[in-house]
């Protein structure tokens, strides 16, 4: 059975060596000294290893069951959920006015990774609740905040987001669910939503559905959409759950992974709902949830890969198979451990260098969100808005790839269920699909984000990379980092230039390369992070700080990423520059 240990040391490195959090001046960061963040991460790690991880495989095997309209989660989930609530973990970065602990989003991200790695399906119940919390916190009236937030903060109630319908997933403009205004200011919601994560379950006393629906007078397409709060049990005057609302779970889906999380068909049969935010501005309100959720899914991508990687390493050290080509390294044994083989090393280095790079990018992104929310930093907000599709799309594509790579280390034992490696691959797979399929992330990046605010944010990103290269110019310690980053960044700019020159005349030319662009930019982002991490590690080494082997390993891992992964940028650019010609050459009938 797989096991999991929180990578506290690596997280501490990111917080204190890379981001140097206490020196940033961001409000709330002054409390994040090394001792404190260490205590929080260690304790979260204990809960993750002892309470959540043991339920990962059993939750996968058992799955959720729908009986008489009630969904039963796997054995042990209820107790574990209570443990998370009692520990105050669900409230970590929520507003103290509503019972939250008020820690920065960055800490929520670090702790979130730990819980997701230990048990992704389980953690989604809380993750979606946090999304609902954020949407109500940002767009709700005072009365709505008082009614819902404290219960969502401590997860006595959980939340959902309801966008998808049978005939519309990506294209929400075709939505059919209707909202009819009532005399008392409420709405009656009618329609069917599908694929609703945590739509029904037995972990909480109430479920607060946030539902997109069309109210009269809003016009065609996504413009007519509004967002509604539809509680499973209507909330009484005294704040407690009362009468059952006309919303029910019709079916739960059988699916490839995340079996512990119920994916529900939700039927709204004239259910009572209340408008959240402005009428016909539902997409905007939903985007609050979606941006957070996309960051969260990008995190899931590498968090599952981390768990898979840890087990692959243990297996590679333990499994005896074949002899090292340079001579036996375990002469007394019948064979050498897998880890001696160069191809296994390649595999493990791919995983390690991706996961650590993605963790750095995600923490950096979380830091940008804190800058934007806590300091009103518009540049940070622009950067994270640009980067969200990259974090979501690139990190989940690679996360899945790396979960499969970890599975590969196990040979045939990776393919059978007994060892738990297949689950990591199956669980990771959904991250490429939900919250906007990755093709849609690429479309968002190339079609919207590049040109956003006159291209200001992408220019700022280019400048940031350029400045990083310049800062290390002629620094011998940084050879192996600066040159590849410089080259990759030029390739990224060339790709952007290609879109500028051809996109207007021939949009197909731009969109044929959008996926490659997302990956090209992903590599540049990770290259940038590795360059910064290498520098931070060198500085720590020179200061004689702490664990020498850790910092040296960090630098060596970075060198691997730069040498073995940044070359992909040239390939992506070459593909982009071929435009739409070969991509769109065939008429649809030819397929």
């Amino acid at each position: 059975m797989p096991s999991y240990t929180a990578p506290v040391k690596d997280m501490q490195f990111l917080l204190h060596d890379l981001l140097n959090v206490t020196a940033t001046g961001v409000a709330g960061y002054e409390d994040l000294d090394e001792g404190f963040t260490g205590a929080v991460l260690e304790e979260a790690g204990k809960v993750a290893s002892a309470v959540l991880a043991p339920l990962n495989a059993s939750g996968d095997r058992e799955g959720c069951v729908l009986e008489n309209g009630v969904v039963r989660t796997p054995k042990g989930f209820k107790e574990a959920f209570e443990a998370m609530k009692d520990g105050g973990w669900t409230a970590l970065d929520c507003d103290p006015d509503y019972g939250g602990q008020g820690l920065p989003y960055l800490m929520g991200t670090a702790v979130g990774e730990i819980f997701v790695s230990a048990n992704m399906a389980f953690n989604m119940y809380q993750g979606l609740t946090h999304g609902a919390y954020s949407a109500i916190h940002t767009h709700g009236t005072d009365a709505q905040k008082v009614m819902y937030l404290p219960k969502l903060v401590n997860c006595d109630w959980t939340g959902t987001m309801n966008l998808t319908e049978p005939h519309c997933g990506t294209d929400l403009g075709m939505m059919r669910t209707k909202a009819e205004p009532q005399a008392d200011g409420s709405y009656l919601i009618t329609g069917q939503k599908i694929f609703i994560s945590a739509g029904e379950h037995d972990l909480a006393e109430n479920i607060i559905h946030l539902v997109l629906a069309k109210a009269p007078g809003g016009g065609e397409g996504t413009k007519g959409i509004s967002l509604f709060i539809v509680p499973k049990f209507l909330v009484k005057e005294d704040g407690n759950p009362g009468a059952r609302n006309a919303v029910s779970c019709g079916k739960i889906e059988e699916k490839m992974g995340i079996h512990g999380n119920a994916t529900c068909v939700m039927n709204y049969d004239g259910a009572t709902g209340w408008l959240l935010g402005d009428l016909h501005k539902g997409m905007r309100a939903m985007f609050t949830m979606m941006n957070e959720a996309r960051m969260g899914v990008g995190l899931q991508g590498y968090a599952v890969a981390e768990a898979a990687y840890q087990n692959a390493v243990a297996y590679a050290k333990d499994r005896l198979q074949g002899r090292a080509v340079t001579g036996a390294q375990n002469a007394d044994g019948p064979a050498d451990p897998l880890i001696v083989h160069p191809d296994i090393r390649r595999n493990l280095m791919d995983q390690k260098s991706f996961v650590e790079g993605a963790r750095a990018l995600t923490f950096w992104g979380a830091h940008m969100i804190d800058r934007s929310h806590r300091e009103g930093d518009a540049a940070a907000e622009g950067l994270i808005s640009l980067m969200t599709p990259v974090i979501k799309g690139f990190q989940t594509d690679k996360g899945f790839e790396m979960a499969v790579a970890a599975q590969q280390v196990y040979g045939g034992h990776g393919y059978i269920e007994e060892w738990g490696m297949s689950q990591f691959a199956r669980d990771a797979r959904i991250t490429q699909i939900y919250e906007g399929a990755n093709g849609i992330q690429a479309l968002d990046l190339v079609g919207r984000k590049l040109a956003q605010d006159g291209g200001k944010h992408v220019m700022a990103f280019f400048e940031m990379v350029k400045a990083e290269c310049k800062a290390h110019d002629g620094d011998d310690r940084m050879t192996g980092f600066v040159e590849p980053l410089k080259a990759a960044s030029k390739q990224l700019q060339a790709a952007g230039m290609y879109f500028m020159q051809h996109g207007m005349k021939n949009p197909n030319a731009a969109l044929s390369g959008s996926y490659d662009f997302m990956h090209l930019m992903g590599h540049v982002c990770l290259g940038l992070m590795w360059t910064r991490m290498a520098k931070a590690a060198h500085l720590a080494l020179e200061a004689g700080k702490g664990d020498k082997a850790f910092y040296e390993t960090k630098i060596a891992t970075g060198r691997y990423y730069m040498a073995r992964h940044l070359p992909a940028c040239a390939m992506h650019l070459a593909r982009i520059e071929t435009g739409a010609e070969t991509v769109m050459a065939l008429p649809a009938e030819a397929f």
Binding site: T5, D31, G35, F36, G38, A39, V40, E42, E43, K46, V47, A83, D86, G87, G88, W89, A91, L92, Q101, L103, G546, D547, K548, A549, F550
Partner: protein
């Protein structure tokens, strides 16, 4: 009643222990360290006494390197009220011996006047199993070791002890030193709000010299070696051969 709980920073029980190349001890450089698991049980028991209204204040003490602060913060996050760190070494490899620890604790007991000292039965690093006993002797207090249950009523403590072949229940007069065993309780996880509160709880820093205690080692470590690796097994051809081997070679039947 005030309860005093000594807590030791030791190598984490999950870490694979490696002996230093020169055999002088276990390599602790950059190794994950945690609170001695038996001490966690002692802290938990103290918190439960407080929750039952039997204790008013829990003071935790750690003796060793400065980094033992983290161990104390963990105890504070679990629910202890106040901490005292007695810095007695600079190098993480320096182990303060039980007698020196007991003397320092005795000095702290004189200042703090607790009604109960709850200690782990032993530290998992050197397995000495001596500090609690020595402390009781130095104080002239009663002692109850290897506790698997603890009931306090008035000026008596009833303690069930895990002894060879069963359980023994004894009654001791308070104040007393109780050393706790594995089955006494299951320590709680610190909650996030308590970790945050722990940051603000008082942690007083002292040195061994402040108490006039000499911590110079009296014992000499001659050699430290790792356990021998497991030898390869042999395949036996028959039950008779197995019985013969168990009789003649292993001498177990």
């Amino acid at each position: 009643m005030k309860v005093l709980v000594p807590v030791k920073r030791v190598i984490d029980y999950n870490v694979k222990v490696r002996v230093k190349a020169d055999g002088s001890g276990v390599d602790l450089a950059n190794v994950k360290m945690s609170m001695n698991p038996f001490d966690e049980i002692a802290v938990e028991e103290a918190i439960r006494l407080k929750e039952k209204g039997l204790a008013e204040e829990i003071v935790v003490v750690s003796i060793g390197v400065k980094q033992a602060q983290e161990t104390l913060r963990t105890a504070l996050a679990m629910g202890a009220d106040r901490a005292i760190l007695i810095v007695a070494a600079d190098d993480v490899h320096t182990d303060i011996e039980p007698l020196a620890v007991a003397k320092l604790l005795a000095a702290v007991v004189k200042e703090e006047a607790p009604g109960l000292v709850l200690a782990g039965k032993q530290a998992i690093d050197n397995d000495m199993n001596a500090t609690g006993q020595m402390l009781a002797a130095l104080l002239g207090w009663s002692q109850a070791t290897f506790a698997s249950s603890l009931d306090i009523a008035g000026d008596k403590a009833r303690v069930t002890r895990e002894v060879d072949g069963g359980l023994q229940t004894i009654e001791v007069a308070m104040p007393t030193v109780v050393t706790v065993d594995l089955r006494l309780n299951e320590p709680r996880y610190a909650s996030l709000p308590n970790i945050m509160k722990a940051k603000k709880k008082p942690l007083e820093e002292k040195t061994a010299a402040d108490y006039g205690v000499d911590v110079t080692p009296r014992l000499t470590v001659v050699k430290t070696t790792e356990p021998a690796g497991r030898k390869a097994g042999v395949k036996v051809g028959s039950v008779d051969e197995l019985i013969a081997k168990l009789k003649d070679e292993a001498g177990v039947i």
